[in-house]
């Protein structure tokens, strides 16, 4: 799983039939300093995360176990909202 911040949402009307009713969140992956790292990605949101919230995401494969991801053409899903990330001092 990876930590990310929800920065927005995407709406796509023409979409694969298997994706009817899903919410697409735009997420910015976070690095070891909780800084933005890499390009924003689009994930299926299974937990109702809001913009600005820190979340964790799961990739396809193992992520097939996630609600909203099974039997769908989805390679990334938001599966949890992080209340607090406790980091060791470095």
């Amino acid at each position: 799983m990876r930590l990310a911040r929800v920065v927005g949402l995407a709406i796509a009307s023409p979409k694969a039939a298997e994706l009817e009713g899903v919410r697409f969140a735009v997420v910015q992956p976070l690095g070891a300093g909780l800084e933005d790292r890499g390009r924003p990605l689009v994930a299926v949101d299974t937990v109702g995360a809001g913009e600005g919230q820190t979340v964790f995401t799961v990739a396809a494969g193992p992520g097939r176990a996630a609600r909203g991801m099974a039997d769908r053409p989805v390679d990334l899903a938001v599966i949890g909202i992080v209340d607090e990330a406790l980091m060791e001092d470095r």
Partner: protein, 108 residues
Amino acid sequence: MIIGRVIGRAVSTRKDEKLLGTKLLLVEEVNPQGAGSGDMAVVADHLGAGPGDVVLVAQGSAARFTAQTKEQPVDALVVGIVDTIRVNGRSAFTSAGGFAPNDKGARP
């Protein structure tokens, strides 16, 4: 999924027979502000996306989880044609108006 812009189409007469009749698009990855990454992929499309469209692309084994692609040798698939993207509370993209100008400017 990544956000991509359709920049072309690959025409292939001689190919795996399971791909007969499947449109293959050339898609450049972009960020939500519309700046291209320079990376391009050949992406299967069953939704009818065309040049200039902004699309959501599922990668890897996920590409095979549709009725049309479950038997196809594909690792990238258009799963949505984007109407709108909102980032930080503002409209970043609409299919009618394209990408919004942003403070940072387009990144190379």
